[in-house]
Point group: C2
Chain length 310, copies 2
């Protein structure tokens, strides 16, 4: 069976043909302008699939997308970073391509890829958390991807950790974890701080996590506070997850994670703070083994399994 995996993010997409053993052939990365129209996304994904398949027949397509995806149907209820609401994504793409399409949240595809072929192989209870533009996460336990009743389970990003007048989140609420520690949120919060005369060392452009890290290392207390506050909130939430889920492997990654030692240190301290030592000591914190190909591999493997089961 020939299966193509696709990882559709807020600014780019990756695709490749994925073998049953997880090997990827012809992995390609494409930038896109944002794809605010679902129709444009369907076209972009369809063209990417055709391109990586190189004329060979495709039996199924698996897609991971930064969105809230209903399980079973692949219906997207919200994709804040893409600006979509209520898009029957799997159905539209299947009609366009004429093959079965299986759609999951992007972190679920990444977590599944790492579980099947990467740093999560052999894990009993795997928790994967990516700190990128937003905060994405997913759980694999007992060989099964956690979906919850409707398909939205496994996500920590929209747990409310701040007050009712906390920072606005892409999901429409205020005070979500993602509104404090995602890369987008850090940039917005940094811009607000600069407008108040703070963060003088960060220049005039958009402030990335890496720029904040440089400023913090250079002695800017406000940059350090932003990074540490976000890391602390994330770490405390992860510590609660360590208690509640009792994972043996916690995989941490994403651009903001790698950009900032201040974030990393605060996350680790936060985990130690909220989790019980008996549970903390049974979890191993690891990095990704598959890097940016994890989502492509995981999405394809989930599609392969769904088709084979059907």
């Amino acid at each position: 069976m020939s299966v193509v995996g696709v990882d559709l993010g807020g600014t780019g997409l990756r695709a490749g043909v994925v073998e049953a053993d997880g090997t990827v052939r012809g992995l390609r990365a494409f930038e896109h302008g944002g794809l605010r129209k679902p129709h444009d996304a369907i076209e972009a994904v369809a063209r990417a699939v055709e391109l990586v398949a190189q004329g060979e027949p495709v039996d199924a397509v698996g897609v991971g997308v930064a969105a809230w995806v209903e399980r079973a149907t692949g219906f997207i209820t919200r994709a804040p970073n893409l600006g979509w609401v209520d898009v029957p994504f799997a159905e539209l793409l299947a009609r366009r391509l004429g093959v079965p399409v299986v759609v999951h949240n992007d972190l679920k595809a990444i977590a599944w890829g790492e579980y099947r072929f990467g740093a999560g192989v052999g894990a009993d209870t795997l928790l994967v958390v990516f700190l990128g533009t937003g905060v994405g996460s997913a759980i694999v336990a007992g060989g099964t991807l956690w979906t919850g009743a409707r398909g939205f389970g496994g996500e920590i990003g929209h747990v409310k950790v701040g007050p009712d007048d906390g920072p606005l989140c892409g999901c429409g609420r205020r005070g979500c974890l993602e509104a404090y520690v995602g890369g987008g949120a850090l940039a917005r919060r940094a811009a607000e701080a600069r407008a108040k005369g703070l963060l003088a060392k960060c220049g005039d452009g958009e402030i990335t996590a890496m720029a904040l890290e440089r400023a913090a290392r250079g002695g800017d207390p406000d940059a350090r506070t932003l990074l540490e506050q976000g890391g602390d909130l994330l770490g405390r939430t992860l510590g609660a997850m360590v208690n509640i889920l009792n994972p043996d492997v916690l995989l941490l990654g994403g651009g903001v994670w790698f950009a900032s030692d201040y974030v990393q240190d605060a996350v680790r301290e936060g985990i130690d703070f909220t989790s019980h030592p008996d549970l903390r000591k049974s979890v191993r914190i690891v990095g990704s083994a598959l890097g940016s190909s994890a989502g492509v591999r995981g999405a394809a493997d989930l599609a392969r399994r769904a088709i084979e089961r059907a």
Copy 2:
């Protein structure tokens, strides 16, 4: 196959013969003095099993116990309410009785009982939370009891929600959720408040949740604050679980829960506060269908399934 189920709590135990369809025969409840010695507990459980079996042969025994239980082995690492550390409970009881013994945390047994025979039948993702002397919880998802890697998963009681100098918890740490809202914690905190001249309406004896509720309804602001603060912390933690797990059924029960409308209202508000509306609206909050027999039925059924699988 004849299977006896046992629910071993901090002050009493229940036992009965449980059929494959969940019917209980000869359910009996026994008070015990605390069973601080594991050997006494083994004897008490063995005698209860023999009593309810009424001379008939027993093929297996399932026990739910208020403890941290390692999965597969039934080894208890901690039982704060019983005062135990590192007890090979399943092995000791199996040697005493001469039949296979399967041990789980008490809330896991209760959750499984409600999932198989009670208010959780048909649930995809069931979260059960009991607010009694402590805070117990367990998760059943996709037909499987959540254990986590070592067996301690599904528990919210020891998530740290307060500061390093917060109230002492039975687990040895400070600031655990259970140290704010469990019945034992409420009694301790009420005694401290009374020592400062507060809670004048509560009399001189041990202060129960029910006494606090009466005082709060009678206009005592400190009683009300204690109940609402505990309920709020529990509710916020449950709201995070609703986001992270996406359950379709949340079963709430336990003595403190039923004793206090102030607690119940604060819990519901806390859930609404931290959970996202898209996830909040897909969870149904229900009460127990099996009452105090849930643990006996669940423990027996878990034993039956483990034996049949072996």
